[in-house]
């Protein structure tokens, strides 16, 4: 019973990684119907450096957030932001990349030119993301300084996931939404390959903040710290030899890896 999580993984020669395959280009089904994405590649690389096989489990995001993972999976590699609330339930590794938060509007819109023009507009956002907390001026991330906007949106419309509000904005300018707020790489993917021939949305202004993203482990599972340490060590080596940067360029077409 006293075995550490790391020992259990090495003993089983497999690390079980949970990932929500709903988010391109972090984690998604590719044209062959296989799992692909930045998170997937990172996880595979981590397993390789641990010297074990990787097994992906693809539960819904709400099952991941249920906590109490027990031994269902050892680690979540799913672009998770270490917010203050989450730290009550989860252990986080060092960040493995950081994500810019970005507003976007419909392609056909000509009146909104700056972020300040969003005053009084209806903005779509996915529920319980840092983006929503940011709009509510209620976001806390350790070691990150958040600068809130000095204008106020009219109505914040919350959606279960990002894909919903992007599709809703694509219905037409102002049909249900005037703007949306999500991560820049999701938007880029939507514009590049979404909605058949590219979703009719365009980015607005600069990223408002950058959020760090980490692996997460279940705090309630005893003897997890050695695994966290081990993962941190592996992450450092991936920083050092440029693996992360390479993967970032491959999937995001830009370098989102911060300097340690």
């Amino acid at each position: 019973a006293g075995k550490s999580v790391l020992e259990e993984i090495l003993g089983a020669n497999t690390i079980k990684v949970s990932t929500d395959a709903n988010y391109a280009p972090q984690s998604f089904l590719n044209d062959k119907g296989e799992l692909e994405g930045f998170d997937i590649s990172v996880a595979k690389e981590v397993a390789k450096r641990l010297g074990v096989k990787v097994k992906f489990i693809t539960p819904d995001w709400d099952l991941i957030t249920a906590g109490k993972w027990g031994k269902r999976w050892d680690v979540s590699i799913g672009s998770m932001t270490p917010t203050a609330e989450r730290k009550n339930a989860l252990l986080f590794t060092l960040p493995y990349y950081s994500s810019p938060a970005q507003f976007a509007i419909h392609k056909a819109n000509t009146t909104i030119k700056t972020l300040a023009d969003l005053t009084g507009k209806t903005i779509g956002v996915a529920t319980e993301t840092t983006n929503e907390r940011y709009l509510q001026k209620n976001l806390e991330i350790e070691d990150v300084k958040i600068v809130y906007q000095d204008w106020k949106p009219g109505k914040i419309k919350t959606y279960p996931t990002d894909a919903n509000h992007i599709e809703d904005l694509s219905l037409g300018d102002g049909a249900r939404l005037d703007a949306i707020f999500t991560s820049r790489q999701t938007l880029a993917e939507a514009i590049r390959s979404g909605c058949g021939k590219g979703c009719p949305v365009k980015m607005l202004g600069d990223p408002t903040y950058y959020e760090p993203l980490s692996f997460a482990l279940d705090k309630s599972r005893p003897n997890s710290q050695t695994l966290v340490d081990k993962l941190n060590k592996i992450l450092k080596s991936m920083y050092d030899d440029g693996t992360l940067v390479k993967l970032s360029e491959k999937f995001y077409h830009t370098n989102l890896i911060p300097k340690l």
């Binding site: 995001w61 709400d62 099952l63 957030t65 249920a66 906590g67 109490k68 917010t83 609330e85 989450r86 009550n88 339930a89 989860l90 529920t127 319980e128 419309k157 919350t158 959606y159 279960p160 919903n164 599709e167 809703d168 219905l171 037409g172 049909a175 249900r176 309630s220």
Partner: protein
């Protein structure tokens, strides 16, 4: 035995219950009371076991209690959506049942397709159709030159949810209503016809009032089911019970707690509705026996 009672001139008066019989009757009563007591004990044990399980799982009760008020605020939406949707469903199911029983090929095929399509596809998909596909139809019509349609077809979340649930349950209830109508004995219809009633008079005056009694129990079951299914409108961002529970659960990575809590809220709601339903049914049953 020959003289047991033949000398009794007024056998119409009920003889008094003899002592031996009293004893047996008392024995039956005692058994009934004991059974009821045991039943209560059994339930108490079961509830204790359930609570024990919840504690064993290691639920964070403090966390749950803290968020109860926030989540309960969503009950209004849940009830609003369910109530309006079931009203719509009642209307559609009566129309649908008449269509299914109709000899007019157009009405009949519309009703049949409605039932088949709606019952054959997941409710989730129907919610998306009302929320996302309908505006697209509006847009296409607008492109064809009919102005103002898109705005009309771009329903807000709550109306879209009510339509989705109402239309879906209407299809299921169509079959219930149809079965209810068909359960009325043919003799009733013949008696109505023999009086010279037209088909529609017979339907309105004789068949439907009787069918309603058959239909009410399954329909109230549907309503109870709908209370739970109404959580689907959370997909469209309506802040009803489930939406709030899931939101808080996600934030704190304690979805299990929140879901169990919201399940208990649903359960209490269903329980109350079931009591109401039983009241209605016994009330109706009383009417049946004619003591009004």
């Amino acid at each position: 035995m020959e003289n047991t009672t033949t000398d009794q001139q007024t056998p119409i008066i009920l003889s008094r219950i003899p002592p031996e019989a009293e004893a047996t009757l008392h024995g039956i009563e005692v058994k009934k009371t004991r059974y009821r007591r045991n039943l209560i004990i059994a339930f108490a044990v079961l509830i204790t076991l359930m609570v024990a399980t919840l504690i064993i799982i290691g639920l964070d009760f403090k966390f749950m209690i803290k968020w109860v008020p926030f989540i309960l605020t969503g009950i209004g939406y849940t009830l609003l959506v369910s109530f309006l949707a079931i009203s719509l469903a009642c209307f559609l199911s009566v129309a649908g049942a008449l269509g299914r029983l109709s000899l007019n090929p157009v009405l009949n095929s519309i009703a049949t397709s409605y039932v088949s399509l709606v019952r054959g596809t997941p409710l989730l998909v129907q919610v998306y159709m009302w929320y996302i596909a309908l505006p697209q139809i509006g847009k296409s019509l607008e492109d064809l030159g009919i102005t103002g349609v898109q705005a009309l077809f771009t329903l807000p979340a709550i109306p879209a949810g009510i339509l989705a649930l109402g239309v879906c349950y209407g299809a299921y209830m169509t079959e219930t209503v149809r079965a209810g109508i068909q359960s009325i004995k043919i003799g009733q219809i013949e008696a109505a016809k023999a009086l010279g009633m037209t088909n529609s008079q017979a339907m309105r005056r004789i068949i439907f009032p009787q069918a309603v009694r058959v239909i009410i129990p399954p329909v109230s079951n549907e309503f109870i089911a709908m209370i739970k299914d109404s959580s689907l409108v959370s997909l469209m961002g309506v802040w009803e019970l489930s939406f709030r529970a899931i939101k808080i659960g996600r934030r704190h990575f304690q979805s299990l707690e929140m879901l169990i809590m919201v399940a208990m809220i649903y359960w209490v709601m269903c329980f109350i509705l079931q009591l109401v339903q039983e009241k209605i049914e016994t009330h109706m049953a009383r009417g049946d026996r004619g003591t009004s």
